[in-house]
C-alpha cells in the first residue's frame, strides 16, 4: 500500500461509528491523513483548507470493519469501536493513524505490539471506556414506575450506553427497563424481548434531579430508595472514615443519580 500523506483537508462525518469508518475509507481512497477528522455535531472554527462531508454508506463501513478483523481479530475490532466511543477529542485521528499502520502491516502482528505509540494509546483509551462501563454496571439505579417499568438516568463521561445493553439484558430479563443518557439524550429500552435505542419525547422525568415524576412512580419506590439510603448510612464504620478513598472509587461526578449520595447538602 502506498504511503499516506498528511494534508490540510478536513473530513466531517455524521458522528456515528459507521460514519467514522466511512471517513476512514475516504481517507484511504485519497491516500491522505487529514488534518482533522470530526463529527458534524462538533464543528470547529479553526478548520482551514478544504472540508469534505463524508456520506455514510453501510457497505463501506462493513468493508473497513471486515478489514480490521482480517488483519487482527474480532476482539480487536470491538476495541476500535470501544475507543471510538470514548468521544475524546482527537480520538478519530488517532484511530486513523492506527488503522493505517494496521492495514500496512505485512505480518499481522502489529496490533499486539504495545511498544507502538498508537497501539498503546488505543488500548489505554479503550481501558478507560471499559472501566467506566464496569463502573456503570454498578452505578445504574433504577426507579420503578407505576406500570412496572424500571427507569435509570445516567450521564457517563464516555458514550457507553450501548455497551451496557448486554449486561442488563441478561441480568434483568424479566422486567422492562430503560437506561437513559441524559447528557446525550438517548437511551436503551428493553421490552422483555429485545433492546432498542430510544429518544424520550414526553418528559415525565426531571433530568436534573434524575427523578421519575411522582404521579407515575410506583407506590413503594420512595420507600425502597429510603431504605437504601438508610442502609448506606448504617454500614459506615465511623472509626475507619476514609473520604479520599471513597471519592477515588466513586467520583463525585457520578453522584447525581445515586440516591445514597445525591441529597442536597449531604457531602459528608
Amino acid at each position: 500500500m502506498p504511503e499516506m500523506e498528511t494534508s490540510p483537508l478536513s473530513l466531517i462525518y455524521d458522528g456515528s461509528f459507521e460514519g467514522f469508518l466511512c471517513a476512514v475509507f475516504e481517507a484511504f481512497e485519497r491516500r491522505t491523513i487529514p488534518q482533522a477528522l470530526v463529527p458534524a455535531s462538533r464543528p470547529s472554527q479553526l478548520l482551514i483548507g478544504e472540508q469534505i462531508e463524508v456520506e455514510t454508506h453501510p457497505n463501506r463501513a462493513e468493508r473497513v470493519r471486515n478489514g480490521i478483523i482480517q488483519r487482527s481479530s474480532h476482539r480487536n475490532a470491538s476495541l476500535v469501536h470501544v475507543a471510538f466511543l470514548s468521544e475524546l477529542p482527537g480520538v478519530e485521528l488517532l484511530l486513523l493513524r492506527y488503522l493505517v499502520k494496521l492495514f500496512n502491516d505485512p505480518n499481522g502482528r502489529y496490533w499486539q505490539n504495545m511498544l507502538d505509540d498508537e497501539v498503546f494509546e488505543l488500548v489505554q483509551i479503550a481501558r478507560k471506556v471499559k472501566k467506566e462501563v464496569h463502573r456503570f454496571h454498578g452505578f445504574v439505579r433504577f426507579q420503578e414506575t407505576a406500570d412496572g417499568m424500571f427507569f435509570a438516568p445516567i450521564d457517563p463521561d464516555h458514550n457507553i450506553i450501548r455497551l451496557l445493553a448486554r449486561h442488563f439484558r441478561a441480568r434483568f430479563s424479566g422486567q422492562q427497563w430503560i437506561i437513559y443518557d441524559t447528557k446525550r439524550n438517548y437511551g436503551i429500552y428493553y421490552d422483555l424481548h429485545t433492546v432498542q435505542e430510544v429518544v424520550l419525547q414526553n418528559h415525565r422525568i426531571d433530568f436534573n434531579a434524575g427523578n421519575v415524576a411522582s404521579e407515575v412512580k410506583a407506590l413503594d419506590e420512595d420507600f425502597y430508595s429510603r431504605l437504601w439510603k438508610e442502609y448506606y448510612d448504617a454500614v459506615n464504620i465511623l472509626e475507619r472514615q476514609n473520604h479520599k478513598q471513597m471519592t477515588n472509587l466513586m467520583p463525585r461526578r457520578y453522584w447525581k443519580y445515586l440516591p445514597e449520595k445525591n441529597q442536597a447538602g449531604k457531602l459528608k
Binding site: F120, G138, F139, V140, S173, W228, E260
Partner: protein, 416 residues
C-alpha cells in the same frame, strides 16, 4: 409495618458491618430468561461507604440476638443495645427489591446465634432457599456457616449459596478461648473442612454429570480480627497460608480490631483500629496469592511483624539484594513479578511485548510500573542502578513514605 422494616434494617445492617468481606466475584451463575439476576465472574461494586469500602451485597444479619458473649463482638449477649430479627419474608423482599433497582449484586447473610447453631443455620437456609426456588433469584448469595451447626445443614447451605464462610476471628486457639469462651477452633475448622470436602466432591461429580447441582461455586472465605489479641503478623500469615493450602480458601479477610466494647479488660485499650497493619497484611496476602511468595519468605522468626513503613514486597527485596538486578528483557515471569513496583499486569505486559523489541524505561513508565521503586532492582537497556551498589539502609530510608507520625503504629503486644 414499613417503619418496622426500616428500623430493623438500621439495627441489623449496623450490626453486620464489621464483617469486612465484600467480594461478589468468582461465581458464574448464568441468567435465565425471564428470571431475575445473574452473577458476574468479576463481581460488581455498586457503591462505596464513607470509609472507602465497597458495597456490592446487602450485608445484613438475620438477627443480632446472640447466645454467645465474645469479647470483640458488638452483638455479644452482655451488651445492652437495640435488638431485632427479620422474618424470612422480609429478608427475601428486601433482597429482591434492592436487586431489581440495581442497588446490589446479591445478599450477604449472617446472624447472631439464637437458640442453637442449628436453629440459626436453618433460618439462613430458609431465606436462600426461598430466594432461589420460589423467586428464581440468580444473584449472588454469600452465607455464613454458623460454627457448630450440623453437617447436613452446612451441606444444604452450599447448594443455595455461591460462597460460604466461617469466621476464625481470633488467630490462635488460646486467645479465642480467652475472648470467646463458648467457641473453639474445632467448631470453626470442622465446618470449614466440610465445606472444602463438599467443594472438592462437587467438582468430581460435575466432571461426571455436568448437571449435578453446584456446591458453593465461589468457594469459601474466612475473616480474622487483627490486633484484638497478641499474635504476630508471622503467626497470622502462617495461619492464612495454611488456609489457602489445606482448605483451598478463596480469601482470608483481615479486619483491623475496632474497639466496640471499651472497658473489657481482656482487650487492648486502643482508640483507633490498626488500619496500617491491616493494609500491610492485605499486601502480604496478595504476595502469597498472586506473586508466588511463601509466608516464610515475607516474614521469619527474626522479623515477625511487617514493617509499617515499607510495603512487604519492597521489604523482601531489600533483605534479598542477591536476587537482583532482574533483566526485564530476559528474566522469566516469576522473577519479574518479584520486582518492587511491578505488578501482575505490568509483568504480563513486559513478557508479552519484549518479543517486539527491547523494553525501555519509557515503555515501563507507560505500562504503569512504579519506576521510582523498580529502577533500583532492574536492568533493561538503560544503565542499571544496581541495588548492590547502593546501601540498602539508604534505600530503605529513601523509599519509605516521608516520615509521618501518623504512620507509626505502636503494637501493644510486640514486647509483651
Amino acid at each position: 409495618m414499613k417503619e418496622q422494616v426500616l428500623k430493623k434494617l438500621q439495627v441489623l445492617a449496623d450490626a453486620a458491618k464489621y464483617d469486612v468481606s465484600c467480594s461478589s466475584s468468582g461465581s458464574t451463575r448464568p441468567a435465565q430468561d425471564g428470571a431475575l439476576g445473574n452473577a458476574a465472574r468479576a463481581g460488581v461494586c455498586h457503591s462505596f461507604t464513607q470509609d472507602g469500602r465497597c458495597i456490592s451485597l446487602l450485608k445484613i444479619l438475620y438477627t443480632n440476638y446472640c447466645i454467645y458473649d465474645c469479647a470483640y463482638c458488638i452483638n455479644r449477649r452482655s451488651n445492652d443495645l437495640p435488638r431485632a430479627s427479620f422474618s424470612v419474608d422480609e429478608l427475601v423482599d428486601l433482597t429482591l427489591s434492592f436487586y431489581r433497582r440495581n442497588y446490589i449484586e446479591g445478599l450477604f447473610l449472617s446472624s447472631g446465634v439464637v437458640v442453637s447453631p442449628d436453629h440459626t443455620m436453618e433460618r439462613l437456609i430458609a431465606v436462600a432457599r426461598k430466594l432461589r426456588s420460589e423467586h428464581h433469584f440468580n444473584g449472588y448469595i454469600h452465607m455464613k456457616a454458623i460454627p457448630g451447626s450440623s453437617a447436613e445443614l452446612v451441606a444444604e447451605a452450599g447448594l443455595w449459596a455461591d460462597r460460604l464462610s466461617v469466621n476464625i476471628e481470633i488467630p490462635s486457639e488460646n486467645n479465642l478461648k480467652l475472648l470467646a469462651p463458648e467457641k473453639d477452633f474445632s467448631s470453626v475448622l470442622s465446618p470449614m473442612n466440610q465445606i472444602h470436602q463438599g467443594i472438592e466432591l462437587n467438582k468430581e461429580e460435575r466432571r461426571k454429570y455436568r448437571k449435578a447441582p453446584r456446591f458453593a461455586p465461589a468457594g469459601q472465605s474466612t475473616q480474622l480480627i487483627v490486633g484484638a489479641s497478641p499474635e504476630s503478623d508471622f503467626d497470622i500469615l502462617r495461619l492464612a497460608s495454611g488456609f489457602y493450602k489445606q482448605q483451598n480458601l478463596k480469601r482470608v479477610y483481615y479486619s483491623g480490631f475496632v474497639p466496640v466494647n471499651p472497658g473489657d479488660s481482656r482487650l487492648p485499650a486502643i482508640q483507633k483500629p490498626p488500619l496500617v497493619r491491616e493494609n500491610r497484611l492485605y499486601q502480604a496476602d496478595w504476595l502469597m496469592r498472586f506473586y508466588q511468595f511463601r509466608f516464610d519468605e515475607i516474614l521469619d522468626d527474626r522479623h515477625s511483624f511487617l514493617d509499617p513503613n515499607l510495603d512487604p514486597k519492597l521489604a523482601w527485596a531489600l533483605r534479598n539484594p542477591s536476587f537482583f538486578p532482574v533483566d526485564l528483557n530476559a528474566a522469566p515471569y516469576e522473577m519479574i513479578l518479584r520486582v518492587p513496583g511491578i505488578g501482575v499486569r505490568s509483568a504480563k505486559l513486559i513478557i508479552a511485548n519484549r518479543r517486539f523489541g527491547s523494553i525501555t524505561f519509557s515503555h515501563l513508565k507507560r505500562m504503569g510500573v512504579a519506576l521510582n521503586r523498580a529502577r533500583y532492582f532492574i536492568t533493561c537497556r538503560e544503565l542499571p542502578l544496581h541495588l548492590r551498589d547502593i546501601d540498602p539502609v539508604y534505600l530503605r530510608r529513601k523509599l519509605s513514605p516521608s516520615v509521618n507520625p501518623k504512620v507509626v503504629q505502636l503494637n501493644l503486644f510486640e514486647h509483651a
